[in-house]
């Protein structure tokens, strides 16, 4: 009888494990399909995430940017109607943030996107395959993801073919480079 109780407690603990310890799912205001935009229409990531090339954060697109394409014509899509409703009210789409680094990490998208030419997918995973917004980050990033790259960093050669091994002066593994 005692064992039944123990097994019951363990079972409940295991069942609620994900509930307590998993990151809460993020629900976006609009069911945005990355697949349609990136895979089919071949739009670059930085077309909508415009701050990635000039800022620390990549940013989420403003309403006006969506309406640049979705403003005109008839639409059957409920989601496009939602965008237009936000536009008519003059509101920004309240996108929720999915990717978060800990507050003690300094990370610049500009350095990685514009200077080092790292593909977005390297950290963010195959976002172009998603037909709906991700509820959670596709990859769980740990410090090893950063260090692994920084220790053996090769970048495309700007002057010709092949790759260039970048010296430690540019790609540092010093703790102070990213921690504050």
């Amino acid at each position: 009888m005692k064992w039944v109780g123990v097994i019951g407690v363990v079972a409940v603990a295991l069942l609620t494990w994900g509930f307590w310890w998993g990151e809460p799912a993020v629900k976006q205001p609009i069911e945005y399909p990355h697949k349609t935009h990136v895979e089919q229409l071949k739009l670059p990531c930085t077309g909508c995430h415009q701050r990635a090339e000039k800022d620390n954060v990549a940013g989420r697109p403003p309403t006006a940017l969506c309406l640049a394409c979705h403003a005109g014509g008839e639409t059957k899509s409920e989601e496009v109607k939602k965008i237009r409703a936000f536009g008519e009210k003059g509101q920004e789409i309240p996108w929720k943030r999915v990717w978060r680094l800990p507050s003690h990490v300094f990370f610049s998208h500009r350095t990685h996107v514009a200077v080092a030419n790292v593909k977005c997918q390297t950290c963010h995973g195959p976002m172009e395959t998603l037909a709906r917004p991700p509820a959670r980050p596709l990859k769980t990033l740990a410090m090893n993801n950063c260090i692994g790259c920084h220790e053996q960093w090769e970048r495309p050669n700007e002057k010709g073919a092949g790759v260039v091994k970048t010296g430690a002066r540019h790609v540092s593994t010093d703790c102070n480079t990213c921690h504050h």
Binding site: N56, S103, H104, T111, R169, D174, C175, N176, H180
Partner: protein
């Protein structure tokens, strides 16, 4: 490779404490509250120490602003069991909060009392804090970092503009705010920099020089003009 250092001219310092306030605002240094303060747990990365005049009772002879001295041969890093504090290639004695286990060996080792311990979680995230500096959790040691988050930002900017870091692009909050220009910050290894020149002044001295810690915060003693 730069070697970041600071020169503090005691002849210019008026003891106004602007550096103390600027440092606290810049680095989200927490107010610990009255109860903690009574226990001697005030956190202040930059402190203006005072020296009394022996001949004239109750008079202050000199003010000595004391940040972490960023020793080139730091005693604190030698005793850290987890590499949470170490001297980085550019001479900044780093303090990595995420690694710190709160053993406080480094505090015991520091001859300048420049390290502070978070006995509690003294603050939560709130508007008005500097987003470039993380809030320290409970149970970690903190100290002046030469505002290295400013170096991170300056270096990021230089990298994006594909140029070298310009002199003067990275200065600490205390050096920037000092109204008497007593605090000069820069690259000690650059022969053209002001800190390089001042560090070689005949007035230059270092705190507790005999210990051999080789501080990179260099003081200039008062001139002849003080009676």
């Amino acid at each position: 490779m730069a070697l970041w250092g600071m020169v503090i001219d005691l002849d210019r310092c008026t003891g106004c404490q602007a550096c103390v306030v600027a440092c606290k605002a810049e680095n989200n240094v927490p107010p610990v509250g009255a109860k903690e303060a009574v226990r001697g747990r005030i956190i202040s990365w930059m402190q203006v120490l005072t020296e009394e005049d022996e001949e004239h009772d109750g008079e202050v002879k000199r003010f000595v602003p004391r940040p972490c001295l960023q020793c080139d041969d730091p005693p604190c890093t030698k005793v850290c069991p987890v590499y949470a504090t170490y001297r980085n290639p550019e001479g900044i004695v780093a303090q990595i909060y995420a690694r710190c286990i709160g053993c406080r060996f480094c505090m015991a080792a520091c001859p300048y009392n420049a390290k502070y311990f978070n006995w509690h979680r003294y603050q939560k995230e709130a508007p008005g804090q500097n987003p470039d500096v993380s809030l320290r959790p409970k149970g970690v040691v903190e100290k002046c970092t030469f505002c290295h988050h400013r170096l991170q930002k300056a270096r990021e900017r230089a990298l994006a503009e594909r140029r070298e870091l310009a002199p003067g692009e990275y200065v600490t909050a205390c050096a920037e705010v000092c109204p008497a220009r007593a605090i000069v910050f820069g690259d000690l290894s650059d022969p053209g920099s002001e800190v390089h020149r001042l560090a070689r002044s005949p007035r230059a001295f270092r705190l507790l020089e005999a210990l051999g810690t080789k501080p990179k915060v260099i003081y200039l003693s008062e001139g002849e003009g003080r009676g």
